[in-house]
């Protein structure tokens, strides 16, 4: 008995059956084998990564140049890498689910119900919290300080902590593949189903703590970006002169600050229910699950705009650059962004029209929901007018922007339908809804992120991505989307419930087969992105753009070398209007040396971020498995580095003026030696990142 007690203290609820390999050995069904294979992939993948890094002797550069770096550019890139890894997993899960549904018409298929429920829970959780959020946070991190003429974000250390907390949460979701199981309660985790009475296992706990780590990281990111944008703009960079991406980043940050606390609270209270027998959301003793639903969607709806607004920002930049025109209706775009931000807090109830409010309340929220279509419509027209009579080039990011405009409007129309409560009563909980929100988020988030990645990649790495593979990826992502999700509208209207592991209506089969083809095309889109990256790295010598302005673009990030120096700007720029770099080029004032260069202080590397992330993940793992000592160790481990850091004073490193001058001279010499290329040749090897000024520019 006491022996058991020791094991409980040491390992909590962990035992042999916690491992999918053991479960698959005991019960070798296809479903369990798939689970074991996924778990094995995590373990083997992690080991292979460690082996590769050791073999190549990359540990030191990995730690010194990346993990401990406080440079906003490197943190941004690490965020995007994290997003790419998690996108790969969650997309494979999506393909598996589509495969299952296409096989499971009057048949068991290959994935057991419990496993299927875990699949849609991890798919949603990962796509929102560990793909979309890191991706947009990464882009904002990389781009915003450069666009506003700053040398870093307001709080570089907090930035690193945010990244590592998010990575810790992502790590927890990955570990759940190999140890234990994940929640079956969907990405929104509604109690009482996720309460202890219905899911006593560790699944919901993994979900709770992974989300908690990520939402803390996101809150800090929002705080950091808002402080950066309000306080770190260069002289003359009024709010009304910021690139539109900065406006959307600002709005997203404000939403993060105010919308993440409801989520943190919802998961914390659910944890109290599960761990300490509280009665917030239970069926008995005064619990009220409507409180959870309200809290969750108080977060959940603004979250939609946290996701979509940065993509709107990317499209604004991309469309303006590849049409060679000032954004049409800049002020209306900025205003529409902020209006959407405000309205996003007034519509949360439309996520649960059917859960018992009066018709009047539903009507009010339905009207509020439709109101959002107005500022969004303003944006769509502004983008179209920006292209009108512009010199439009159909590069891969521009193609994504165009596909977005068309596809997003379609999704918006079905959103208007769902905003009408009587229609919602009919189609709620069907795949019509699934089709709708994928129709918003794939164009409205993923296309934007991919477009931003392709657009800013040459800035970050100094060479362009392959246009050919970019267009292949575009073809796959767009055709894949339509094939995968348009059938779901039909199926939803025919009454097919969402999250169904098996189906009993033979008429669904053809539509499900079309959808699975679409899913594989989407997977092909992902593969093309990786091929594009590989091909572009291989051919990088032919595609270098060291001067830094490959697209004849307009904002400040293009006014420095590619990749930019660690300190971003040798001298802090002065701005006197919108699109400052474009007008500097027009006036022939670009690429001039400064009168004199001063030494610049940059933050030293710090271990605090990685240690906090690791300790946070350890604490969360301890909580999941009820391992007391690990929880305590993790919790203390989070605070010790933070407090120790507050006793450090020597946290800056000074780059001497001579070194800065040498770096700048090297870059300027290159710029003066380079041959300017006209826009029509921008995708050719001749493009070294120096654009030929275009005469007779008429401002929009």
């Amino acid at each position: 008995m006491s022996d058991d007690g020791h094991w409980l203290t040491l390992l909590g609820h962990l035992n042999a059956r916690s491992f999918p390999f053991v479960r698959a050995w005991d019960d070798p069904t296809v479903s369990e084998l798939i689970g074991a294979l996924a778990g094995a992939l995590v373990v083997v993948g992690a080991l292979a990564l460690v082996a590769l890094v050791t073999w190549k002797r990359w540990w030191r550069p990995l730690v010194r140049d990346w993990l401990t770096s406080l440079d906003h550019k490197k943190i941004g890139i690490m965020y995007v890498v994290l997003a790419g890894v998690m996108l790969s997993r969650a997309l494979v899960e999506a393909v598996l689910m589509r495969t299952q549904q296409s096989l499971a018409v009057d048949a068991p298929g290959i994935v057991a119900p419990e496993h299927f429920a875990q699949l849609f829970s991890t798919h949603g959780t990962i796509m929102i919290f560990f793909m979309a959020m890191p991706f947009l946070t990464g882009l904002i991190n990389y781009v915003v300080p450069l666009q506003i003429g700053a040398r870093d974000v307001a709080f570089p250390l907090l930035n690193s902590i945010s990244l590592m907390l998010t990575a810790g949460g992502a790590g927890l979701v990955m570990i759940s593949l190999a140890v234990g199981e994940f929640s079956t309660g969907g990405w929104s985790g509604y109690p009482p189903y996720t309460g202890k009475a219905f899911q006593p296992g560790v699944g919901p706990d993994y979900w709770i703590w992974a989300i908690t780590l990520s939402s803390l990281g996101t809150t800090f990111s929002g705080l950091n970006f808002a402080a950066t944008i309000y306080k770190k703009r260069c002289p003359g960079m009024h709010l009304s002169r910021m690139p539109l991406f900065c406006w959307t980043a600002l709005c997203t940050s404000i939403l993060m600050i105010f919308a993440m606390p409801p989520l943190t609270l919802a998961t914390a209270l659910l944890a109290l229910d599960r761990y300490l027998d509280f009665h917030f959301f239970t069926n008995d003793l005064g619990g009220n699950m409507m409180n959870y639903v309200n809290l969750f969607w108080l977060f959940g709806h603004p979250e939609v705009y946290i996701l979509i607004l940065p993509a709107f920002g990317v499209f604004s930049e991309v469309i303006s650059a590849f049409s060679s025109k000032e954004l049409y209706g800049y002020k209306s775009l900025a205003a529409a962004t902020m209006v959407i931000g405000v309205l996003s807090f007034t519509v949360w109830l439309h996520h649960f029209f059917t859960m018992g409010q009066s018709a009047d309340v539903n009507a009010a929220f339905g009207v509020a929901t439709m109101t959002i279509a107005i500022p969004t419509g303003v944006k769509i027209y502004d983008w179209i007018w920006t292209m009108f009579r512009g010199e439009v080039r159909f590069t891969a990011p521009m193609l994504f922007a165009l596909a977005f405009i068309v596809t997003f409007v379609l999704g918006g129309l079905t959103g208007i339908m769902l905003a009408i409560p009587p229609i919602d009563y009919v189609v709620h909980n069907t795949v019509f809804l699934v089709a709708h929100f994928h129709n918003m988020l794939i164009p409205g988030l993923l296309y934007g992120m991919i477009a931003g990645y392709m657009y800013w990649f040459p800035k970050a790495f100094g060479f362009r991505l392959s246009e050919v593979w970019g267009k292949v990826a575009f073809g796959c992502w767009v055709s894949g989307f339509y094939l995968a999700f348009m059938p779901l509208y039909v199926l939803g209207l025919s009454g097919m419930a969402r999250r169904s592991q098996a189906l009993f209506e033979p008429d669904y089969r053809p539509w499900l087969l079309v959808a699975v083809v679409g899913a594989f095309l989407l997977l092909a889109g992902l593969v093309s992105l990786f091929v594009q990256l590989w091909v572009s790295v291989r051919d990088r010598a032919a595609n270098r753009v060291p001067v830094g302005d490959p697209w004849d673009a307009r904002s400040l990030e293009w006014s420095v070398s590619a990749p930019p120096p660690e300190y971003n700007f040798a001298t802090i720029p002065q701005v006197d209007r919108l699109d400052p770099f474009y007008w500097r080029k027009e006036r022939g004032e670009a690429y001039r040396p400064a009168d004199r260069y001063n030494a610049i202080a940059v933050p030293k590397n710090s271990w605090v971020g990685p240690l906090v992330g690791l300790a946070g993940a350890a604490c969360a793992f301890g909580l999941v498995w009820h391992i007391g000592w690990l929880t305590l160790l993790g919790f203390v481990g989070v605070w010790i580095p933070v407090i120790a850091r507050s006793f450090m004073r020597d946290v800056h490193r000074t780059i001497p003026a001579s070194e800065i001058e040498a770096t700048e001279r090297r870059w300027l010499d290159r710029a003066h030696a380079a041959r300017p290329v006209p826009r029509e040749l921008e995708t050719e090897p001749a493009n070294l990142g120096l654009a030929r000024p275009f005469p007779a520019q008429v401002p929009a």
Binding site: F155, H279, F280, L285, G286, G287
Partner: protein, 212 residues
């Protein structure tokens, strides 16, 4: 570095951060501003806890209700202690601004710390009484909401106390350099913020619960 003539001034408080050479005024202003944003986010958390408390007031599930478990007397003592601690923190801030030495600052921080710990002691004793009466959070939705709202505030006060101790250690090591001053300013915001939350707790939970 940049004097009052050519740099933006600190406009929020009268503390003499400008005379510290370790930090640009812009950096200090940004540092403080970021903490204000954090407090806004934290305020949302408390607002929602209050909302949950409001919806759960009637969810007593046959267990004790507010009138049965809430005692105005001890809560009033706690209120006096916490409000006094805000006053003493204010005195610490004044000492930081005007004193050449650190005696006044350290003294008032220590008094504040003692008051914070005393507040926590009273609060824990309240909870113990409630537990002894069988009013535990697993008994009802109302008690769950109560034991989410008050301990969240209490944990914040405990964090504030630890922060004061860390700051006392930093004063011992560094004196009052720019970063110590900035962190004292942030700590002050945090401490007064907790006071405001407590005033809301006293009004919404205790006054409403016992006098209604």
């Amino acid at each position: 570095m940049s004097g009052p003539a050519n740099g933006p001034q600190l406009r929020h408080v009268g503390l003499n951060l400008l005379h510290s050479d370790e930090m640009e005024p812009e950096e200090a202003a940004t540092g403080l501003y970021g903490f204000w944003i954090f407090l806004m986010s934290d305020a949302i958390l408390f607002a929602l806890l209050f909302a949950i408390y409001g919806t759960q007031l009637a969810a007593t599930a046959g267990a004790q209700g507010p009138q049965d478990v809430l005692k105005l007397g001890p809560a009033f003592v706690e209120t006096v202690i916490l409000l006094t601690s805000s006053l003493t923190f204010g005195l610490a801030a004044i000492a930081l601004k005007y004193d050449r030495g650190q005696f006044g600052l350290v003294l008032w921080l220590c008094v504040t710390l003692m008051l914070g710990i005393a507040f926590l002691g009273f609060e824990i004793s309240d909870f113990r009484t409630m537990f002894a009466d069988g009013a535990t959070p697993d008994r009802s939705g109302f008690l769950s909401a109560f034991f989410a709202l008050l301990p969240t505030h209490g944990l914040h006060v405990a964090a504030g106390c630890i922060w004061i101790m860390v700051m006392l250690a930093q004063i011992a090591v560094f004196g009052t350099d720019g970063r110590v001053k900035l962190n004292l300013l942030r700590l002050g915001l945090f401490w007064h913020f907790l006071d405001i939350i407590w005033i809301a707790i006293f009004s919404v939970v205790y006054l409403q619960g016992t006098l209604a």
